[in-house]
């Protein structure tokens, strides 16, 4: 075998374990889900194999699913914007800090050491009727009766921001850390103020990081079901909750499959749009 041929083969040999894992753990289950989406649920809960379009017809034409999907996208968008507004200054501070950058990054990663569900449930002890905030307000004499702060859309967004903020900060940090600081000095030396230097130089250069963080926050936020389940009220369900209910509560795996593919298609389209205009390289840097 020639050296060129051997060299051409090497990447494929090295990639083969990962590709086999992705095929077995992602593509094969996905094919199962696609097949399932064309089956039917019988009255007893058993599945009826075949090729039926009933589930797709229901998922695509029923306004119930459309409304919940739009509400999910709205909540994910608000969460992403809040994460961007809160995450950018934090990432800027870490990127420009001297000496203690590693400690700050470690602090940023600390929440990941605690289960996401536990972190979400911690808000009950903070915002609950007998939680920390109400107790302090009553102790200070500001209120007489505890405020009802939990189980609404705001607390769902709060829980999502709590969960997703580190993803935004990390992506923006990676982007900011790669910008040559002397560029801002050059802008200042040419007469720009600090603020103008930031707006005209740093911000545009860090936008790919912001976009990558935004994409991650949006996709993860739109796909969550734990946060609305724990912190949401009766009417604060998101689309993933519908998938959960169809599969777990109603034992309707075919409809649940169609709904999950619908969500996958919407979020996949967003990733494709992102890739078309910004490329995936920045996202990989942020994840790395």
């Amino acid at each position: 075998m020639s050296v060129e041929r051997r060299e051409a083969r090497q990447p494929w040999i090295l990639l083969s374990p990962a590709m086999a894992a992705i095929t077995l753990l992602l593509f094969v289950p996905l094919i199962f889900i696609v097949v399932y989406s064309f089956w039917l649920r019988t009255a007893t809960g058993a599945d009826q194999a075949g090729f039926y379009l009933n589930n797709w017809n229901e998922a695509l034409t029923d306004p119930f699913y459309r409304d919940i999907l739009l509400n999910t996208l709205k909540i994910a968008a608000i969460t992403t914007i809040v994460c961007a507004l809160m995450g950018y200054p934090a990432a800027y501070f870490i990127a420009r800090s001297r000496g203690n950058k590693a400690i700050l990054l470690l602090l940023l990663m600390l929440p990941f050491w605690i289960s996401y569900i536990i972190r979400t449930m911690s808000w009950i002890n903070i915002l609950g009727v007998s939680g920390a905030v109400n107790s302090i307000l009553i102790w200070l004499g500001i209120i007489d009766e505890p405020l009802q702060m939990l189980y609404n859309e705001t607390t769902v967004i709060l829980g999502l921001v709590h969960f997703l903020l580190p993803f935004m900060i990390l992506n923006v940090f990676v982007s900011l850390d790669g910008i040559d600081e002397t560029l801002e000095d050059a802008a200042n030396s040419l007469g720009a103020t600090k603020w103008q230097g930031f707006l005209e130089v740093t911000l545009p250069l860090s936008l790919p990081g912001l976009a990558a963080g935004g994409l991650l926050c949006f996709v993860l936020g739109a796909g969550t079901y734990i946060t609305p389940l724990v912190l949401g009220g009766s009417t604060d369900a998101m689309f993933a909750n519908l998938v959960f209910e169809a599969i777990i509560t109603q034992l309707n795996w075919p409809l649940g499959s169609a709904l999950s593919l619908m969500l996958l298609a919407v979020l996949g389209a967003l990733v494709l749009i992102y890739n078309r205009y910004l490329g995936m390289a920045q996202l990989m840097k942020g994840l790395g």
Binding site: A43, I124, G128
Partner: protein, 379 residues
């Protein structure tokens, strides 16, 4: 049944004069011979079953099972009991459906309707009742209902029963007000934002039937029931999804009134919370069973069921989980605590409780569970 108990029963028959001495000694000799012959093979057979998986409701219920049943069973047989938990029967059924045969073995199912659903999905095993002699202590009515679903055979043993009644915070709602309003307090505007409810379509529809003055097992005005479900949804703070969440919401005073599981509410009362409990007329009664799923190691499961039904184990578990055991109080002395538990029936007839008709409820399952998913979200 273990050999000691077999010997004790034989001895009892001999002492009662049912067996003469020659026959008694002959049976003891035959038993010794049989034991000697089968022991080497029995060891091999038992070695094949190293563990049995048990899934239940978690919380204080699981703790009671672990302490009073599983650990002593493992100590005695060498077979480990792996216990898992679930938040509801629907969720668990989905997991079983996705599993391989034998992966899940025994489930603590609630209601005959669940039993019927499992049987309908061809998940029912067939128990050898000869291996479960403690079944004789169980209230006959509870056993017969299950037999009716599976053609006279059993796939489970009844284990306990309870009710889903009304739980309320006495600091904010008096006993008199509860008696006066009954199930309708869950749709009382006065308590808007302080009402809770289980996110289970059956419970929602059962209470909607009560709120609209209908028979929960034969309601005719379904539209009125959905209106009641919607009204409750609009007034409720949130739907709870587990017993732990129910207890937390009541204990933290996030809600003042909800329907709740009798044993969990009793546990709250034991903890010192001033929570009242009331079963309204036609309140939701249910009987739980230990269901053996098809493909499980039957002998090991039957041995565990028999062990769990032994009066001393069953009573200890019942006292731990606060639900009356399925043991017949006319046959077994249930001690001091069990007669004080909510829903306890000293007659053993359970005539005061209303159970869900499995045919009626399973007949509406597909339609109503889906509809509730929508109503729950504001539709």
């Amino acid at each position: 049944m273990d050999n000691t108990r077999r010997y004790e029963r034989l001895l009892e028959r001999y002492m009662n004069g049912d067996l003469d001495r020659r026959k008694f000694l002959g049976l003891i000799g035959a038993a010794g011979l049989a034991y000697g012959v089968q022991t080497p093979f029995a060891k091999q057979a038992l070695a094949a079953t190293e563990q049995v998986r048990f899934d239940g409701w978690g919380g204080v219920v699981s703790e009671a099972f672990r302490k009073y049943a599983f650990d002593p069973y493992t100590e005695k047989t060498g077979i480990a009991v792996v216990d898992g938990t679930f938040g509801g029967g629907d969720e668990y059924l989905s997991r079983v459906k996705a599993s391989q045969p034998g992966e899940y073995n025994i489930a603590h199912l609630s209601g005959v309707f669940d039993y019927a659903r499992y049987a309908g999905l061809d998940l029912a095993s067939e128990l050898n009742e000869d291996n479960i002699p403690n079944l004789q202590y169980v209230i006959p009515k509870l056993v017969d209902v299950f037999r009716g679903v599976t053609g006279g055979k059993l796939s489970c043993v009844p284990y306990d029963y309870g009710t889903t009644g009304l739980a309320y915070n006495r600091k904010h709602i008096s006993d008199e007000e509860m008696k006066e309003k009954g199930a309708k307090i869950l749709i009382d505007e006065k308590y808007k934002g302080k009402i809770g409810g289980w996110s289970d379509w059956r419970t929602r529809m059962w209470y909607a039937a009560l709120q609209t003055g209908q028979d929960p097992n034969n309601a005719t005005d379904v539209d009125a029931m959905w209106d009641a479900v919607r009204k409750h949804r609009d007034l409720a703070l949130k739907y709870w999804t587990s017993g732990a969440e129910l207890m937390s919401l009541l204990a933290e005073e996030e809600i003042y009134v909800t329907e709740g599981w009798s044993g969990r509410i009793y546990a709250l009362q034991e903890q010192g919370h001033d929570i009242g409990y009331m079963d309204p007329p036609n309140g939701f009664g249910w009987q739980e069973c230990l269901f053996v799923i098809k493909g499980s190691p039957m002998e090991a499961c039957e041995e565990l069921l028999n062990f769990m039904l032994a009066p001393e184990t069953s009573i200890a578990v019942a006292e731990g989980q606060n639900y009356p055991p399925a043991l017949d109080p006319t046959k077994v002395d249930l001690g001091d605590k069990i007669p004080t538990l909510p829903a306890f029936d000293p007659t053993g007839t359970l005539s005061g409780l209303t159970f869900a008709n499995p045919d009626y409820w399973n007949g509406h399952e597909a339609e109503w569970s889906k509809m509730f998913g929508r109503v729950q979200k504001g539709y």
